[in-house]
């Protein structure tokens, strides 16, 4: 599942953005902001790099992807549908009783999901376990993890950061979606994190800072991650919460709020869907 061109990835991301606003509108709940900030990275990872088989989601030697910020599930479901792990029809089951698209991504419910998320600060540790397993197996598969910037306020993130560097897990690759907003407010107001790249670097990680909405930069960063072998690598992506929908952009109100009918129409119009 590799080899999509930059323009193909950009088109995939646009389609996924449409699904994100539709899903959250349909459910009248969910987290559009963080889904829209992460989506370019997810598309690049799945379309450009991730070794996985949609027709065999439990393939043992697949790369793992752990969405630790599991509330941003609409983004992941949209990508899984684009890649063929689930059907586009399944997207209608988001937050619906019995649906594969549970509120937070869940490995027991949805094909292609490798981690049952929900509580922040847990996915990096889980990804580390997957990376250790690959190492013991002698496999070259990778464990990719995505966390949010607010999420790194959880202390357990730093337990994992320290442990992964100690064990020299070159097969553990982290994306940090720095959209600058958490549940209650801007991160700056809730808990200043100061020099985030310096923190990861001082913990023994290889660090690269990119524009998380520039597809070429994202693809190059994923390729850069491949070159890091003796230590874990983190791509710190500067993103915009709600990216692609003007009234959601950089707006804390759309961390966990669904668009109204009017807002949906405007969002779809901005994303190039004719009424």
């Amino acid at each position: 599942m590799t080899g999509m061109s930059i323009s193909e990835l950009e088109d995939m991301a646009r389609k996924c953005r449409i699904e994100i606003v539709k899903m959250t509108h349909r459910a009248q709940a969910g987290h559009p902001g963080g889904s829209l900030s992460e989506i370019d990275i997810l598309c690049a990872l799945y379309g450009h790099r991730l070794r996985a088989k949609p027709e065999q989601p439990d393939w043992e030697d697949r790369d793992r992807f752990v969405l630790s910020k599991g509330h941003a599930s609409p983004g992941m479901y949209a990508v899984l549908a684009e890649m063929g792990f689930i059907n586009h029809e399944d997207l209608k089951s988001y937050r619906v009783k019995g649906g594969v698209c549970q509120g937070h991504v869940d490995m027991k419910w949805c094909p292609g999901v490798d981690f049952s998320a929900g509580s922040l600060g847990m996915g990096l540790s889980f990804g580390m376990g997957c990376a250790v397993a690959a190492k013991i197996d002698g496999s070259n598969r990778n464990a990719y993890v995505m966390v949010g910037d607010g999420e790194i306020q959880e202390g357990s993130i730093w337990e994992a950061a320290m442990a992964a560097a100690h064990h020299e897990l070159g097969n553990l690759k982290l994306f940090l979606d720095c959209n600058g907003i958490q549940n209650d407010d801007f991160c700056e107001a809730q808990m200043r994190m100061f020099d985030i790249p310096a923190k990861w670097s001082s913990f023994g990680w290889a660090v690269k800072v990119i524009d998380g909405h520039n597809m070429q930069e994202i693809v190059s960063a994923i390729d850069w991650m491949d070159t890091i072998t003796g230590q874990p690598a983190v791509v710190i992506a500067q993103t915009v919460k709600g990216k692609g929908v003007s009234f959601m952009e950089n707006n804390p109100a759309f961390h966990g709020a669904a668009p109204s009918d009017e807002q949906l129409a405007q969002a779809l119009s901005e994303l190039g869907v004719s009424a």
Partner: protein, 312 residues
């Protein structure tokens, strides 16, 4: 005088014996010397993951390994497992990943380290988690036997072991140990004493003391608190008509809680609970702690008489 041993030694022996299975991996949080996983680490460093003093990370590294086909055994002190409770809940139990967590140094029997180290609530909290098997064996032989069965379990588990030595009850009888099945150690029709962990031998002493007074007690080693051996309990309710539970754990929510929850909806009979009253411990020797908390054989004897007196 029977042989004395600590349950944590049985855990360490079992891990080493399980190492023939290449999928078995061990996770440590800087207490392998204490929980006895160090024997495995020395023999198989390539399958041992040091997580430093970081229990939350350890539980989820275990979950990641389990999701990749490994059988992780993680251990630390019982009290420190509790700071990773949400990881156990959301990252292990919820997706039903077979991570096997061992909390050593449980209970007030831990002794002079004092109240901060004496977990008296671990059995209660882990018992509330769906999919999790909860065990508290009484000697090294049964600890080893139960641990050896865990790779075949297919679901996560929590096992409490103890720091200090107690009399060994199962020398040569390891075949009697099966997850989820209580062991009847002594038969009598007047009262059933259901015990776990370090209080099993106290229950046996109590049964002998009761016998001297003409009272015949059944003693059960209920090493598995969840799933509870309800079939045995139902039979004993009919046979004895009165119960005493005995555990080095809070009277709230542990073995006593589990037994009471079952009996009240099946065979309501008089029952007395021997356990740590609703308070924290303090620094004292193991035997001193059992006496202070009301967990000794003579306390069990009094509770048995009280339960029998309440029979209608």
């Amino acid at each position: 005088m029977s042989r004395m041993a600590a349950t944590r030694d049985g855990y360490g022996e079992a891990l080493l014996a399980l190492a023939d299975n290449p999928k078995v991996v061990v996770l440590e949080a800087d207490l392998g010397k204490s929980t006895k996983s160090l024997h495995f680490r020395k023999a198989h460093p390539e399958r041992t993951v040091s997580c430093g003093i970081g229990e939350q990370n350890m539980l989820l590294v275990g979950a990641g390994l389990a999701s990749s086909g490994y059988i992780p055994f993680a251990s630390t002190f019982a009290i420190f497992t509790e700071r990773a409770f949400e990881q156990m809940r959301n990252g292990v139990a919820r997706p039903n990943l077979a991570v096997h967590l061992c909390g050593s140094h449980g209970g007030t029997h831990t002794g002079t380290d004092g109240s901060s180290a004496q977990s008296i609530e671990d059995l209660a909290i882990y018992r509330t988690l769906p999919n999790v098997v909860v065990m508290h064996p009484c000697d090294d032989i049964s600890t080893k036997a139960l641990t050896m069965q865990l790779p075949g379990l297919g679901s996560p588990s929590y096992m409490r072991t103890a720091r200090n030595k107690t009399p060994v009850l199962y020398d040569g009888k390891e075949n009697e140990i099966q997850i989820g099945k209580g062991v009847v150690l002594s038969e009598g029709n007047d009262v059933a004493i259901i015990a776990c962990g370090v209080l099993v031998h106290e229950a046996m002493d109590a049964a002998n003391m009761l016998k001297d007074e003409g009272i015949n007690a059944t003693v059960v080693d209920m090493h598995t608190i969840k799933p509870l051996d309800t079939e045995l309990l139902d039979n004993l309710a009919k046979q004895c008509g009165a119960f005493v539970t005995a555990e080095d754990h809070s009277v709230i929510g542990g073995l006593g809680g589990a037994v009471a929850e079952h009996l009240v909806s099946s065979h309501p009979v008089p029952m007395e609970k021997i356990g740590v009253p609703d308070r924290f411990g303090e620094s004292a020797g193991s035997e001193e702690m059992l006496e202070m908390m009301g967990l000794k054989s003579h306390h069990i004897v009094e509770a048995a008489k009280k339960a029998i007196a309440r029979k209608v």
